[in-house]
């Protein structure tokens, strides 16, 4: 490989090299091997710049300017269970894994009520019995060969979460994976990793939460891989509720096999600069995909959502609704690509991105993208950017609701379109609260 000229300075590499040297012997050989392969790619790949089409509107310079410290040993920094309370989800009681600055915390985790049909645990300590299963899927979907941030994450493979649902099992109890950043003196970087495997005909709900105890600056570079085997059904929530000074780059890769169902809702509320890329590969016939999203940003926040729905075989159905609310001088980017590959006949895909601008200073760049190489398909896509409707405001006013309350109610209503579809009540309530807080709005709703 010839070295690439004019390489951006990559301050994350020293930690990668150090990790390679100091990581103990305990990992399975394939796991350590994957890490090495990715480390080699991380050395070569350039971090993205705005010259890359995919990163045109999202400039990561602020991330590169900040010196980050990689944490290798678990330190709670005074973090206690009660600090997690606002982020906990009632329905997942006894079924949660907690990672602090990327490292597994047995003390804060609680797996006392995990169903028999599922195994959850730390990727940093994979049991023999699961090693084969996890080997098949880890790194198989998230491409560390091409994406610099994915390569970095994979090069730092150590602690992380795995969820393995056995064939035919219906897991009633939702599983919660919490990634919390806890203030140390210096800004920290973490590379959370999640592997979710739903074997044939299984069914489960998994929630990923990213947040911080405190208002510190840090960087989360997360990668999640999801495998839905034939007939499996997964409900997946991703709640990005980072501190307002954080940086967050998240990538989710989903691989769907025949007749599988994948439903997700990705929320972005926190972080000064955040991006979530969601790539779903519908690799066989009769798959069903529903991806919803909501981003709510204010101040000088920047949020980027990139999604890819890749229809590769006939009879796939996909539905996408991403909504955004922007206040102050916040910026949002939405790029939603739908590919219908040659032969993916009778694909049925609908995509919509709707944005509500609460301030004239806010701005959104939205680009729905449809590329069809097959016949006999039904595809619709669209994007809207608008303000609060004066007719709606007047209607509320005519019922005695004051201007400020009316704005709050309509904004809440706009978000509710997405939130109300979430099946877990505690998640809905948490989001209602966070959305209103973010927009400094007071509204008593139930």
């Amino acid at each position: 490989m010839t070295p690439i000229a004019a390489k951006e300075k990559n301050d994350f590499l020293p930690a990668v090299r150090l990790f390679a040297k100091t990581r103990g012997e305990g990992d399975p050989a394939w796991f350590a091997g994957l890490r090495q392969l990715a480390a080699a790619r991380a050395e070569e790949l350039e971090l993205p710049t705005t010259r890359d089409e995919e990163w045109k509107y999202t400039n990561i310079a602020p991330i590169l300017k900040t010196p980050f410290r990689q944490v290798f040993d678990l330190q709670l920094n005074g973090l206690r269970e009660k600090d997690l309370t606002p982020y906990l989800i009632d329905e997942t009681r006894g079924s949660r894994l907690v990672f602090v600055n990327g490292l597994y915390s047995p003390e804060l985790s609680d797996a006392s009520n995990v169903s028999a049909g599922v195994a959850i645990g730390n990727l940093g300590a994979i049991p023999e019995t699961l090693s084969g299963q996890l080997h098949k899927h880890l790194g198989a979907y998230a491409d560390y060969g091409k994406q610099a941030f994915t390569a970095l994450n994979t090069a730092m493979l150590g602690d992380g979460a795995y969820v393995h649902i056995r064939a035919g099992q219906v897991i009633e109890q939702p599983i919660h994976l919490l990634f919390v950043s806890s203030a140390a003196e210096a800004a920290t970087v973490s590379h959370p990793r999640v592997l979710l495997i739903a074997e044939r005909g299984s069914m489960a709900t998994v929630i990923e939460s990213y947040f911080a105890a405190g208002e510190n600056r840090y960087f989360t570079n997360a990668v999640t891989e999801v495998f839905a085997a034939e007939g499996a059904s997964i409900e997946h929530y991703r709640l990005q509720e980072e501190s307002d000074r954080a940086f967050h780059i998240g990538t989710t890769h989903v691989h769907q096999e025949r007749e599988s169902i994948y439903r997700s809702c990705a929320i972005s509320i926190g972080a000064e600069l955040s991006r979530h890329a969601l790539n779903v590969a519908l690799t066989d016939e009769f798959t069903e995909t529903v991806i919803d999203g909501l981003y709510v940003v204010a101040g000088r926040q920047h949020v980027d959502n990139h999604t890819v729905l890749d229809h590769r075989k006939p009879h796939g159905t996909s539905r996408q609704l991403y909504k955004g609310i922007l206040d102050d001088s916040a910026r949002a980017v939405f790029n939603g690509a739908v590919f219908v590959r040659e032969g993916a006949l009778l694909t049925d895909s609908r995509q919509l991105n709707k944005n509500l601008l609460l301030s004239s200073e806010s701005r959104v760049d939205t680009k729905p993208q449809l590329e069809i190489f097959a016949d006999d398909v039904k595809c619709a896509h669209g994007a809207t950017v608008g303000q609060l409707e004066s007719d709606e405001l007047f209607y509320l006013a005519s019922r005695g609701i004051g201007a400020e309350q009316a704005r709050a109610l309509l904004t809440y209503g706009f978000a509710e379109d997405v939130i109300s579809k979430i099946r877990l009540r505690s998640v809905r309530r948490q989001l209602d609260r966070m959305v209103l807080e973010k927009l400094h709005q007071n509204l008593e709703v139930n």
């Binding site: 007047f394 005519s398 609701i401 309350q405 309509l410 809440y412 209503g413 706009f414």
Partner: protein, 255 residues
């Protein structure tokens, strides 16, 4: 209750109401009829304070004070209610939340205790009986996906909950089937007490079979062209508006 004098109002520099006078006393029901585009909805919106409409001349006194000085939400809290000709859909906001908020805003304004969700639920269920609305409507988004008739019934439900002093109903009877018409009329008649006043904008005599008006006015080209008792509505039903037009235009040449 309401005193409108020489009202001139319009939108984007275009005058729609051109010297309208109307006096409504407590306990009275007034019907306003008139051809399409004569300014009926404009009058209703001006009364409710729609910001797009500009009042260029004249005055409106409501319960003794200047209505035009009040913002639309203040007017509502003071007891003015407009049932919209085309009710607005508010996605994501449940009927229950919306109505409770509206109700509590009025309570706050009057210095009364606000109702919590449970207390309000009782009140709402009571009022829903008036409009014979199914309980499932409570948790649906305001007007979203409602049929035309359901929207109109929802307006009457809102009126019943807010219990206004002055209710202006803009074609609430349009697009209703017989049952819905009876229900809407029932809601209006419940409100019609000696302390209240009601203005009904309608195109059809048939609503007036259910709600008996004390006065009927014909609005034409932004003015009240003719007023009378309920027999005027019957006359209009038979003869149409041509004779009003002729009479008004005969005058209009010199005006």
């Amino acid at each position: 209750m309401l005193e409108i004098r020489n009202l001139h109002a319009g939108i984007e520099g275009r005058e729609i109401l051109r010297g309208l006078d109307l006096s409504v006393k407590a306990g009275e029901i007034h019907a306003i009829m008139g051809p399409n585009g004569s300014g009926k909805s404009t009058l209703a919106k001006v009364l409710a304070g729609h910001p797009d409409y500009e009042v260029t001349q004249g005055e409106i006194l409501y319960r003794g004070s200047n209505l035009l000085e009040l913002a639309p939400d203040e007017r509502a809290r003071e007891g003015v209610f407009l049932a919209f000709q085309y009710p607005i859909e508010i996605p994501g906001v449940s009927n229950a939340n919306f109505l409770r908020m509206a109700y509590n805003e009025a309570c706050k304004h009057r210095g009364e205790e606000e109702l919590d969700p449970l207390e309000f639920d009782d009140l709402l269920r009571e009022k829903m009986k008036i409009v014979e609305m199914d309980a499932s409507f409570i948790n649906r988004s305001v007007n979203e996906g409602f049929s035309g008739g359901e929207k109109k019934r929802n307006e009457i439900l809102q009126m019943a909950v807010l219990d206004p002093h002055l209710a202006v109903l803009d074609e609430t009877d349009s697009g209703l089937d017989i049952d819905a018409m009876r229900i809407v009329a029932g809601g209006v008649n419940k409100l019609a007490t000696p302390e209240k006043a009601i203005i009904l904008v309608t195109h059809y005599q048939r609503l007036l079979n259910y709600i008996e008006p004390d006065f009927v006015h014909v609005l034409y080209q932004g003015r009240i062209a003719k007023s009378g008792g309920k027999e005027l509505a019957e006359e209009l039903e038979q003869k149409g508006y041509d004779w009003i037009r002729e009479a008004a235009n005969g005058r209009g040449v010199t005006a």
